[in-house]
Each structure stands twice: as structure tokens, then as C-alpha cells.
Amino acid sequence: MQKNNYMEVTFPSLSVNEGFARVCVAAFCLQLNPSVDEINDIKTAVSEAVTNCVVHAYPKTSGGLINLKCETQGQMLIITVSDNGVGIKDIEKAREPFYTTKPSEERSGMGFAVMESFMDKVEVEKNDNKGTKVILYKRISRLQEQVKNA
């Protein structure tokens, strides 16, 4: 039985770090032997969560920090993306497909809908101090190992 593992990284709220966050999580989750599809699903969901921070969390300041945590619990991958920004006024509304507070910027309003569709479970909470915390869950099937052992 593999020991549970975790990692944590903090970076400035810059769009260039979206790609970094995706690759970082993908590299961490390799220990669970995910399929290529599972890795790509996770990368997409992480990108949505980090983009929300970059676009919405720190509108009036020159930027803040984004904290990214990943942990494994057995075959469950748990990813937490949090910021100390302005927070989401109405979380329920924000999770509705096509809802966006910035329609003039060609935004689809599909961020949370995509996270929900690509992960097993998505939780959105107010962060302890201020800002938002998004928790993404995905159980990795370990298909490759099953094939190896077959």
C-alpha cells in the first residue's frame, strides 16, 4: 500500500503560471498511474481554477498569491486552489453554467461547469481569512497497473 503524499506550492497570480500549475499537478499525480485522459482532465480542471484566481481574485491590486496543494489519499487525488482575493459574492450563482461577471471580455462562464465535468467532485468555499478555496477530487482508476497485472 502506497503512503499518502502531498505537495504545496505558492506563486503570484499571473496568467503565465496557469501552465506551470497544470504541469505541476500532472507531474505530482503520476505516482497514481493515471491514464493520459485522466491527466488531461485534471490539467483542464486545474487550469480553470487557477484562471479564476488570475481573472477574478485580485482585480484592483497589482496581484496576489495563489496557493496550490495536492494530496493523495489512496487512489484519490485532492487538489486545493486558494487565493486571498476579493472572494465570490454568490458561490451558487458562480457555479451556474454560462454565468460570468465579465461578459464584455468574451468569457464563457463555463469554468466551474468544466471543473465539475472533468473531476469527480468540486467544492467551492470562502477561504479562512478571505478569498476563495476550490477543492477538486478525482479518483484515479489505476488502469495501467491492472493491465500490467493481468
Binding site: 496568467s15 483542464t44 463555463m110 468544466v114
Partner: protein, 102 residues
């Protein structure tokens, strides 16, 4: 993001190479608008076979270009999306306005 394009038989072929996210969205928007502005074509085919990553930011970029081309009555078609891009297109109904071609 690198964007390659050519006009052949009245069709503008556009190949998106790289990653389409918030970071590359502005560059992608501007480049596509420049490419779409010129040339002699009556339809556009956007090939995603070289697109390594796309999230929902891509939907906003594509719908924005659709709106501009709709005024000129030039249809846009999508081909070769990744599995993840396909899932996002189906969720958002993008294929209703930019049909997928094989």
C-alpha cells in the same frame, strides 16, 4: 501559441499550435482577427490537431470570432479537437454555431 493560415479554394485554413488558455488568449484573439480580416475566402476551417491544451477560455475566444464573422456571413468550422476540447465544445453547444467537420 502559434497560428498558421493559408487560403485554398476560397477556404481559409487556420492551424492553432500550442496551448490556448487565459495567458495566450489575447495574442490568439488579435492574431485570428488579423488573419480573418484579410484574404479572399467564404468559409473558415479551424484545425485543432496541433492544439496541445485548451480550457474554457478557448470557448470565449472562439465565440468572439464567430460573432465577428457572422456579420460577414462567413461560417467557421472546427476539426480535429482533442477529447477534452470536444467535451467542452459539446457542453457549451459550440458545435451548434461552429459545426465539426471530419
Amino acid at each position: 501559441m502559434q497560428i498558421k493560415s493559408k487560403v485554398y479554394n476560397n477556404t481559409l485554413y487556420v492551424l492553432l499550435c500550442g496551448e490556448l488558455d487565459e495567458h495566450s488568449a489575447t495574442h490568439t484573439r488579435i492574431t485570428l482577427d488579423n488573419v480573418f480580416a484579410g484574404g479572399d475566402f467564404n468559409q473558415i476551417i479551424i484545425d485543432l490537431s496541433e492544439l496541445e491544451f485548451m480550457d474554457s477560455t478557448g470557448i470565449g475566444v472562439l465565440i468572439g470570432r464567430y460573432k465577428k464573422m457572422k456579420d460577414r456571413q462567413i461560417p467557421i468550422y472546427i476539426c480535429n479537437p482533442s477529447k477534452q476540447a470536444e467535451k467542452i465544445f459539446k457542453m457549451t453547444g459550440l458545435y451548434d454555431i461552429m459545426p465539426k467537420i471530419v
